[in-house]
Each structure stands twice: as C-alpha cells, then as structure tokens.
C-alpha cells in the first residue's frame, strides 16, 4: 500500500476511536463537563494532562528547533518540564483542597474581590486564545502534507472533529479521548526515533544513543561519539558548536525561568489537577504527567542530534563537498515540492551543499525535521502515516483542552459568577457549549488566516501567565498577609510591564529587537520572569500599607494547607 492510503487508514481509524470515546462518555451535568466528576484516576489524569500539554508545536517543531540551535534549545526542554515541579509542590494539592472549578474561582475567593476575579478571567481567556490560534494551523499543515488536500480543508476537518468531542463530551469526554491521543502520539513519536537510534548507534533507547558512539552500516563501532561528530561538523561548516549554543547566559536563564513559571500559571494545565479524587492524588498525578511528558521530551534532543548529523551527511556527502542533485535522496525532492526545502546552485556545480556561510545553497525549514525524519532514514511507509496521525493527535488534544477552559471561563467565571448569578445548571451548560463552539470558530479562522506572529504570541502567553496568574496563586497559598489591593496591583503591574516590553519589541519596533537594546540583556521571550519578580515586589509593598486580610479569608487559607476534609469532587 502507498503512503497515501495508509495515512487515510491510520488517521481514519484514530479519529473513529476519539469520536467513539466521546459518545461513550458524554457529560450529563455541569460538574462532569468541567471536571469529569472528579473521578479520574491519577495515572489516567497524568496521561491526559501530558496529551493536553504536548501540542502540535512540541510534536512537529520542537525537535527541529533543538536540531538547529543545539544547546540553546535547552530552554524549552527544561522550561516546559520544570514548571511541573512548581505545579506539584506549590499549587496542585492546595488548589485541589480548595475544591472549586477554575483559577479565577480561587483568585476571586482568596482575594475577596470581584475585580481580582475579573483580572484573572481576562488573563485566562487571553492566554488560551493565543495558544489555540496556533493549534488549528498545525492540523491544517499536517493534513495538507499527508492527505494532499489544501490547508483550508484540513482546518475544516479538524474543526469538525474537535467540535464533536469537546462540545458534546466536556471534560469527561476530553479526559478519556486525551488518553487515547497520548498513546497515539507517543507511539508515533517513539517509533521513528528508535529506528533511527538503532541505525546510527545500535542502541534501542534514543536517550542512550544520544551519548553513544556512531556505528557504520554493518553495525561496527566507528570510535566517534555522536555529539563529538556533531560539534566537529558544526565547526567545519561555520555553525556555533552544537553543545555550546550562542545565546547569552543571562538570556538563557530568564527564558528558562519565564517558561517554567509560565507553565505553572497556565489555566488549562492547572485545571487538570481539579479532576482527581483526592489531594493525595493531585500530588502524584503531576508526577505521572511529567513522566509521560518526559518520555517525549528526553527523546526530542536525541532525535534532534540524530537528524542533524543525518541531514548534513546526506546533503554534503561523505567527503563534505556536496552530492550531485540527480543522485540526492528522494526526500529532498519531496519536500522541495512543499517549498519547505529550497536549493540554489550558487557555484553552478550541480551539487547540493549546506553550510553557515555565503557558500550555503540550501534553505531548510526547521518544521520539517520530525515529519521528514522517517523519509530521511528511509523507514517503511506505515511509519510516515503514523507520524501524521501522531501530529494530529497532539494538535487535537491540546485544542480540546484549551476550548474547555475557554468555555468554562465564559460560562462559569464570566456569566455565572459575574453577570448572571442566578443562571440554572442546564443553562450554564448550554452557554459553556456555545462558548466552546465560538472558540472553535475563532481558532478555525486563525487556522485559515494565520497571523504572521504565532511564535511571538506564544511568548506573550507564557510571559503573561508567569507575570500575572502564577504569583497571584502562589502568594494566595503561601502568604496570609497579601491582601486584595496588593494582589490586584501586583497582577496589573507585572502584566503591564511584561505586555508593554513584548509589544514594544515584537510589534512596535521589531527592528530594535536585539541584545544591545534589551533591558539587562533579557529578550522578550524571557521578560515574563522579571515581570513575575515585579509582581511579587509590588504585591508585598502594597499589602504592607493597606488594610489587613479579613479573618475569614485567613481561615480559608489555613484550611487549604492540609488535605483532611477535602470534599466535593470525589462524590461520583
């Protein structure tokens, strides 16, 4: 069977599976819609959280980014996993004991203020929308490459599938669908990585192969370590050393921090820890989530290094002078058709050649690394089809999780708690579904007409979460003296500073966006960490000079600090 037929078959089968699960676990009450009735086992919840977290961007793009920037890519690897330690230690158990549905619920109650709740709702909705804008595009790209339909059709198909299970199923449907999606996406990611690791180093585990000696076609050791080879190639071709990188230390520090603290402040991640039966489970569930995420995230840098060596060697040939175009492998010609690889024969010798300097003849898009790996390594057609299904699983699971938070924020936080307090349970559920539908339409719109600034927008989402929601939640748990005035002032200054810095460099004066102009040498991607420190400082300062926190709120804070008496969510 050819790749085309296999892709239809495998993608069709996985979609049928997701929709089947959504129908089987349809939500009947608002509580099931929001938090799956609180009856999700911690390991299952961890797996669903991992699927929710790993978006099309991490599946398709991250290995490509690491492959092209080497050490600098560590900011994403550490940043997007380290945040889970903060979640587990500083937030999950306490928020689970608090026992309500959403992040704005906590901020509104802890800071006894409708204004604080509104600020949190606005942050949550904005963060989710910026995130989801990129997801539908991912679905469209995968469809267009592998099903050979245009990107628009791909986006419409994706919208229909997400609508079906997010809007009908709610959290209960999403949780179980995400478990299925995790299995599909991790299998699809690991199979090519293992194949290529065995081919290049003889080790089954890519994590071990990453630090091993390269082997030749017959499987005999060559005496050269993969990473030494890579550093050698980088030197020879004029790139920065693969294991050293080129960003300044302070910038790497701040970007990693912004991503870690931002991760711990993302509403669609936090809400997952409301769905486990007990406080105890919320602790281990974060650990399981990280186990499932780390399986992929520790494979990513290995895959990145394998593909880098593979790519340079196939293009430049054994003697590093380039290979003749006619004899070049088929994958280069396949991807040339999509425009993501370009060849410009500058010295007119009929050979392709890749390097850093002016003699470079190849333009290679980073995003193709994962999708093209099976072709580069000459793996069977079913592996290529599987990778397409995995990319779709990653995009769909993340979109569904985000839509749920958007719908909850609108129907629960905005309508029920703000505008229409005496709305019925049934009506609230209806509004939740309408909000999810509206969210899908908007995501679809951005999928078809992508803003040219998706990457910049993601930096904003993490920066805003790190500088607004994360400090407000942590201070709410660990301090009894931060009052309403302090929290609101902190969120607004932290958020305002971060947003202004990013907007200035990314949208108003992109020409000035270089280390010479950055404050303390911190790029817009890392500024969220500074915003967070400002938030903490302002909140403490303002709380010192304004009214004391009411006794009832102080008692509530004491109440969430130990597990006994946690109730509610496990009643199903």
């Amino acid at each position: 069977m050819d790749v085309q037929t296999l892709t239809y078959l495998i993608v069709g089968f996985t979609f049928a599976l997701y929709i089947g699960i959504a129908i089987w676990s349809r939500a009947g009450s608002t509580k099931e819609f929001y938090v799956a009735g609180g009856g999700v086992h911690p390991v299952v919840n961890g797996m669903a959280t991992a699927a929710d977290w790993m978006s099309a961007a991490s599946f398709i793009s991250l290995a490509g980014i690491v492959s092209f920037v080497g050490f600098d890519g560590s900011v994403y690897l550490m940043g997007w996993t380290g945040g889970y330690v903060l979640l587990a230690l500083c937030m999950a158990p306490y928020l689970r004991k608090f026992g309500k549905f959403t992040v704005p619920d906590f901020i509104g109650d802890r800071y006894y203020s409708q204004a604080a709740r509104t600020v949190a709702v606005v942050c949550a909705i904005f963060i989710c929308f910026t995130y989801i804008a990129g997801q539908m595009r991912g679905v469209g790209v995968v469809f267009s490459r592998f099903l050979e339909v245009d990107v628009e059709t791909g986006v419409y198909i994706g919208m229909a599938v997400v609508f079906f299970y997010a809007v009908l199923g709610g959290m209960k449907g999403i949780t179980y669908t995400q478990v299925a999606q995790y299995c599909v996406l991790i299998f699809a990611f690991m199979v090519p990585a293992i194949f290529i690791s065995v081919m290049m180093t003889g080790h089954i585990l890519p994590q071990i192969g990453f630090g091993a000696e390269l082997v030749d076609a017959a499987g005999n050791g060559t005496g050269t370590y993969l990473l030494d080879k890579l550093d050698g190639l980088s030197n020879e071709l004029g790139f920065a050393q693969y294991t050293e990188g080129s960003k300044s230390t302070i910038d790497v520090f701040f970007i990693t921090g912004a991503l870690m603290f931002g991760t711990a402040g993302l509403p669609h991640v936090i809400v997952r820890f409301f769905t486990v039966p007990k406080v105890k489970d919320s602790r281990s569930s974060a650990g399981w989530a990280l186990v499932f995420i780390a399986i992929m995230y520790t494979t990513i840098p290995a895959l990145a290094a394998f593909s880098r060596v593979n790519m340079i060697e196939t293009i430049n040939g054994p003697d590093s002078t380039g290979v003749a175009y006619e004899t070049a492998p088929q994958w280069i010609k396949n991807w040339e058709k999509t425009g993501l690889i370009k060849w410009d024969d500058k010295n007119a010798d009929g050979k392709i050649y890749y390097a850093k300097g002016p003699e470079n003849e190849m333009k290679i898009d980073r995003d193709i690394m994962v999708l093209a790996t099976p072709e580069i390594a000459d793996l069977p057609a079913w592996v290529i089809a599987l990778v397409a299904a995995g990319g779709l699983a990653a995009a769909l699971s993340t979109s569904a999780g985000l839509l749920l938070v958007i719908s909850t924020s609108v129907s629960h936080d905005l309508l029920k708690k703000n505008l229409m307090p005496d709305i019925s349970d049934k009506k609230e559920l209806m509004f939740a579904r309408i909000a999810a539908a509206a969210g899908i339409v908007m995501a679809g719109y951005f999928g078809i007409n992508p803003p040219g600034f998706v990457a910049a927008v993601v930096a904003i989402a993490f920066g805003l979460a790190a500088s607004s929601l994360f400090p407000a939640i942590v201070m709410g748990i660990f301090s009894k003296t931060i009052n309403k005035e302090g929290a609101i002032a902190g969120m607004i200054t932290g958020l305002g500073f971060t947003a202004a810095y990013i907007i200035y460099f990314k949208f108003m004066n992109p020409g000035d966006n270089n280390p010479a102009n950055w404050f303390l040498g911190v790029s817009p991607e890392g500024i969220g960490m500074l915003g967070m420190l400002i938030n903490f400082a302002v909140a403490f300062g303002v709380s010192k000079v304004t009214a004391k926190v009411p006794d009832s709120v102080q008692e509530m804070v004491e109440g969430i600090r130990f597990p006994k008496g946690s109730g509610g969510a496990q009643s199903h």
């Binding site: 560590s74 230690l89 091993a212 130990f562």
Partner: protein, 88 residues
C-alpha cells in the same frame, strides 16, 4: 480546624515548607545551576559521550524533575499521616 491545637498546625506547616523549599533548592540547582550557570565548568567533564553540563541541560535536569515530584508526594503523604490530617 482539624489539628489538635495551634502548635500542631504550625509544626505541620513548618515541616511542609522545609520539605518544599529543600526540594525546590535541588530543582534550581540542577536546572539553573548545572544546566545554565555552571554549564561551561561542567562541560570540561565527560560523561559517557556527553559533556556533563550539556547532559544536565538536555537530559539530566528532566530526570531529576520527575524524581523530585515523586519524592515530594511520598514525603508529603507521610507528613499528613504524622499529623493525622490525611484524607480518609
């Protein structure tokens, strides 16, 4: 209040804070420390085919993160039992 008295409540919270802070110190040491600030020093040391600093940044830190959460979960659950504030 589920604690027998105020001293118990304060003792529990103090021990909990000590646990969280010591684990966060390890968290910061492996990522911000070994993976970023000390990376050049550690890169002088070779570990299998890796430079050690690079290994921390792209592998080691993540393994430690996973371990930290499970250690926290086990110790926090034990602390709940010690002060009799665990769930039924």
């Amino acid at each position: 209040m589920s604690f027998e008295n105020n001293d118990q409540a304060q003792g529990y919270w103090r021990e909990n804070l000590r646990l969280v802070l010591s684990l966060l110190a390890i968290w910061a040491a492996v990522s911000f420390g070994c993976g970023i600030l000390l990376v050049d020093v550690l890169n002088e040391i070779h570990f299998m085919g890796f430079k050690l600093g690079f290994w921390f940044a792209q592998q080691g830190a993540m393994y430690v993160f996973v371990a930290l959460i499970f250690v926290y979960a086990a110790k926090a659950n034990a602390l709940d039992k010690k002060y009799n504030v665990h769930e039924d």
